[in-house]
């Protein structure tokens, strides 16, 4: 969580101690009287100021006089009170206080005040995010991310949809940072583990719980206590694991493997998937009750290929402070029309390759050398490792292998300038296999050595 600078204006030493305890995860400055508070307000920069209104037993509400000073400096002001009249509290609101903290009231908690502060800040902060942490000028993406940030300080689960590399993890981290939650951001990629290992990772285990469990280990659910649990690729989770996770979400407690003692964890869930989640539900691969628990607010991130205006903006962002890249017109057009199947992740890698490996103006050949997809206009859809696995589960291994073979052939043919002789030699495949694969995917060539006999 972002560490805030907070000023607490409170004359009572014990109340100061209590507030410092509640705010221990932030930088807290204390002022016990009006004079000290004025000096701190004049010289310091605070995100939030908490004001007790009566500073001393006989004081005449001098805390009220400090509020306009803090408001004029743009600080978020909160009035603290245990027993002040409505008239005094209204006066504090009239002077610019944004929130109220009820001292000694068990139902009132400082965390809720902090969340409201973050909520108020998201409106102004989202514009900054789009030029720094989530670079985009695409109106639909901006609107979706801004809307998601509105829910950042709430308990609402958030589901992020979008293809691989489109920024799902980055967005989840931003939402956590704007949530005001005091716990950590804990991410796990569900597709990277087998069912047994995923269970051990999520719930933790006791020493000797299974072969290889040499020591007791805390699970991700516990690590995310009072924070955010980011479940990436949740669509790959088995139905059995989904049921166990659902139970942990509903009961806020779970048993680590090999333990008979339940652990308690209050985590907020953000999940992500690149799959069509409705389809998973209809195919019986996603439990409806789990889906209902994870999709409070849903945002769908577009592939980079559909956010053409973002391409050069992102390139500038990724190369800031390193090298200013200049492209020949045809190279620029190629980049602009390229499908970016690996999305922002691919663009980032591309920019790193250019920064380290290019000199002077970058021409088309240099660009093509670093971009993997064969056809710049081809729709996004290359299979990465995880995607290939899921594709195989959905369509059968044979179909997936055919598709991978096709992609490798296409890439190699591009690298050989369309010459199939080179591809046959490089990939050590038969002519029959080459043509069968191209035919299967409707890509019988009509260029260069179109006729099989021509280059054999």
């Amino acid at each position: 969580m972002t560490k805030l600078n907070i000023l607490v204006v409170e004359d009572d030493k014990l109340a100061q101690k209590v507030m410092s305890g509640h705010l221990r995860s932030h930088n807290v400055d204390l002022a016990g009287d009006k004079k000290t508070a004025l000096a701190k307000l004049a010289n310091g920069h605070y995100d939030i100021c908490f004001f007790d209104l009566m500073l001393g037993p006989k004081d005449d509400y001098s805390g009220l006089k400090l509020i306009p000073v803090a408001v004029s400096k743009g600080f978020y002001c909160v009035v603290m009170s245990g027993s002040d009249s409505d008239e005094i509290i209204n006066k504090a609101y009239g002077l610019g206080c944004k929130d109220f903290y009820s001292k000694g009231n068990e139902e009132s908690n400082v965390e809720a005040v902090i969340r409201k502060y973050f909520q108020s800040r998201t409106g102004t902060a989202s514009a900054d995010i789009f030029s720094s942490r989530f670079v985009t000028s695409d109106p639909a993406t901006r609107a979706g991310v801004s809307e998601a940030l509105k829910y950042a300080p709430s308990e609402l689960p958030i589901l992020i949809l979008g293809p691989s590399g489109s920024g799902k993890t980055s967005l989840a981290k931003i939402i956590h940072d704007y949530s005001g939650r005091e716990g950590s951001f804990v991410a796990i990629n569900c597709s990277a583990y087998t069912e047994d290992l995923l269970e051990a990772e999520l719930f933790g285990h006791k020493k000797g719980a299974f072969t290889g469990a040499g020591e007791t280990r805390k699970g991700r659910l516990l690590e995310a206590h009072k924070g955010t649990l980011f479940l990436d690729e949740i669509g790959t989770m088995s139905l059995n694991m989904q049921m166990k996770l659902l139970k942990a979400i509903e009961e806020r407690s779970f048993y680590p493997l090999g333990s008979d003692k339940p652990e308690h964890s209050e985590f907020r869930i953000i999940s992500a998937t690149l799959e069509n989640i409705q389809q998973l539900i209809s195919q019986g691969k996603m439990r409806l009750d789990l889906f209902q628990r994870i999709h409070g607010f849903t945002i769908d991130l577009s592939p980079l290929g559909r956010r053409k205006d973002d391409i050069f903006q992102l390139l500038t962002h990724f190369t800031a402070g390193t090298k200013r890249l200049a492209f020949s017109p045809d190279a620029k057009a190629y980049i602009q029309n390229y499908a970016w199947p690996g999305n922002v992740r691919e663009l980032k890698r591309f920019s790193e390759l250019l920064v380290s490996g290019s000199e002077g103006r970058i021409d088309l050949a240099a660009v093509k050398q670093h971009l993997t997809a064969s056809d710049p206009a081809a729709p996004a859809g290359k299979l990465s490792g995880d995607e290939a696995y899921r594709h195989a589960l959905a369509n059968g291994l044979e179909q997936t292998l055919d598709r991978i073979a096709y992609e490798i052939i296409q890439r190699n043919m591009t690298e050989n300038g369309g010459k199939k002789t080179g591809t046959l030699s490089d990939l050590k495949i038969s002519t029959r296999f080459l043509y069968a694969t191209l035919k299967k995917f409707g890509a019988m060539p009509g260029n260069k050595d179109d006729q099989p006999q021509g280059d054999e």
Binding site: K13, L14, A15, K17, V18, G21, K103, G104, N105
Partner: protein
């Protein structure tokens, strides 16, 4: 300051100190031993002050 205002302030002081003791009791369990000692001293002082304020309040009834 008129008499009712003084009474209000005394009551305010009592309520404020009670709230602080209550807040400290809620945090107490999670404190280190050193913090617990400091907290107990402050809680005792606040309780003592409440007692003094209550006596002062008693005088206002005469």
């Amino acid at each position: 300051m008129s008499q009712p205002d003084d009474l209000s302030k005394l009551l305010h002081d009592i309520k404020g100190k009670c709230a602080s003791i209550k807040g400290a009791a809620e945090l107490f369990r999670d404190c280190s031993v050193e913090e617990k000692r400091e907290m107990l001293a402050l809680m005792s002082e606040a309780a003592h002050n409440i007692s003094g304020t209550l006596q002062e309040l008693g005088k206002t009834l005469k």
